[in-house]
């Protein structure tokens, strides 16, 4: 059942029109498909998704991280920010973190 609830984000790199790249071994990272999961895929415009999902923060930590990423050009408009925060805190929260 658990497997059904996750999507696999392939960490396969696609350069703009040039060769596909799979450093070491291509890997996949499970992304639980609960509301808001599609928003995580916007992160992969700039970096592979495992950069995001290996982090664990509390509300302040995730909020600051999101703000920094938005400042750097992440396409997360204000109306999506709350849902993305909710998603990240649901799955990638450190109960002892900031």
């Amino acid at each position: 059942m658990w497997r059904r609830s996750v999507g696999a984000v392939a960490l396969v790199l696609v350069a703009t029109g040039s060769a596909a790249v799979a450093p070491a071994s291509a890997q996949e990272v499970p992304i639980p498909q609960t509301p808001g999961w599609e928003l995580v895929l916007r992160c992969v415009i700039c970096h592979s998704v495992e950069i995001a999902v290996q982090q664990r923060f509390g509300p302040q930590g995730w909020s600051e991280t999101l703000d920094r990423m938005i400042k750097y050009g992440a396409p997360i408009p204000p109306e999506d920010r709350v849902q993305l925060m909710t998603y990240l805190l649901r799955h990638y929260r450190d109960p002892n973190g900031r």
Binding site: T16, A24, S25, C46, P75, R98
Partner: protein
């Protein structure tokens, strides 16, 4: 776009190809972001490394693979803040500008005219060990393996800088590589070192690693090597040097690669020297050993300090016995340590604790810092002896 090579992923669900596909799918990113830097080529021979991130590429070694004094290229860690495609050595140039009387653009042949030297240098990512912090610190979750040692050959940065004639006001030297952020808004990866370190004889612009041109993933054709400093000082794919009156003021000096000051944790400082640190390589965690005489061994290093001792404990830190250093080493390389142990049946916790000429001793714990740096807590390895 090419299809993903792994069809199993498609069967499992959906497939997200990063980069232009997503950017083109109406998510609203501006033109700057759509212009992805070319991704690096496939990396045959790096399969033994653990992939901590695939874009940018971040790979770490398994501790059990760090058995050689010179870390083989195939298990030498890779830490990228941003990726860049392969650079053509024939097209490579280095611009030196800022607080200099003679701004210059140098090519490889200019560097090759300068006296060359070789040294063994241990490079360690500032965040090595980050995953052991509690709570989880922000950044790539490195365990032990973002460290390695290689022979670097190149020219003294002092000789290179002299060509540009730094002004008396020069106090810091910033390095900028060809790796660029994926959006116009994200900060360029630029770090500076103080002038005293830049002109210190061991600080070099390296052209070779392990007797070969520096591989692309390790910063070729030319990278800075700042021995003793955190790995991020040794900027890869170097293409610009900015001589300054003050420390570079970008994100990677003033925010990332910073830690709270020891004397005042309300203030932060930009990381310079590596910590004094040691890792036990053998025996490995969880090893089942036969009773009898065996050697506990590993690597120790101390950044700007010089190692003065290594103590080993076989009882979880209750008692310590001096170990010995053995084998080849260089001023800024790790040193092999050994300790003979008469292993008796039972479960034992082995530990190693290095000390250095700066009076530093590996600690039993490390206060949490948000970015997870300075992890040099005494390494403990549990083994079973039958």
């Amino acid at each position: 776009m090419r299809p993903a090579p792994d069809t199993q992923l498609s069967r499992r669900g959906f497939l997200i190809a990063t980069g232009s596909v997503v950017a083109a799918s109406g998510l609203g990113l501006g033109p700057a972001a759509a212009q992805q830097p070319p991704a690096p080529p496939p990396v045959p021979g790096k399969e033994r490394l653990i992939v901590r991130a695939s874009r940018p590429i971040n790979l770490e070694a398994r501790l059990a693979d760090l058995t050689a004094y010179h870390t083989p290229e195939e298990v030498f860690f890779v830490r990228n803040n941003y990726d860049v495609g392969p650079l053509d050595p024939a097209q490579w140039s280095l611009r030196i500008e800022g607080e200099v009387d003679n701004p210059v653009v140098l090519r490889l042949e200019d560097l090759r005219k300068l006296p060359a030297f070789t040294q063994d240098v241990t490079l360690e990512c500032a965040g090595n060990g980050r995953s052991f912090h509690t709570p989880r610190a922000s950044g790539i979750q490195w365990q032990h393996g973002a460290v390695g040692t290689q022979a670097f050959r190149g020219v003294r940065l002092a000789d290179v800088l002299a060509l540009a004639r730094p002004r008396p006001t020069a106090q810091h030297v910033a390095f900028d590589g060809a790796d660029k952020p994926p959006t116009a808004q994200a900060p360029d990866f630029i770090r500076s070192v103080p002038l005293w370190k830049a002109v210190s004889p061991p600080t070099m612009l390296a052209l070779e690693m392990g007797g070969k041109p520096i591989p692309h993933l390790h910063g070729g054709p030319v990278r800075a090597i700042v021995p003793g400093f955190v790995g991020s000082a040794s900027i890869k794919w170097l293409e610009r040097i900015l001589v300054r009156t003050d420390e570079f003021d970008g994100f990677y000096m003033k925010s990332n690669y910073t830690a709270p000051r020891v004397d005042n944790d309300k203030e932060i400082y930009s990381l310079q020297s590596l910590e004094v640190k040691s890792l036990i390589v053998g025996p490995t965690e969880g090893a089942k050993l036969a009773a009898g005489r065996l050697t506990i061994w590993g690597w120790a290093w101390a950044g700007e300090g010089e190692l003065t001792g290594i103590d080993v404990s076989t009882d979880g830190g209750q008692t310590w016995t001096p170990g010995r250093f053995a084998g080849k080493w260089d001023r800024y390389s790790w040193r092999k340590f050994e300790h003979d142990w008469d292993a008796r049946p039972g479960t034992h916790t082995l530990m190693a604790r290095a000390t250095d000429s700066l009076g530093r001793v590996q600690p039993a714990s490390r206060a949490f810092n948000r970015l997870g740096y300075r992890w040099n807590v005494i390494h403990a390895v549990k083994v079973d002896v039958a």
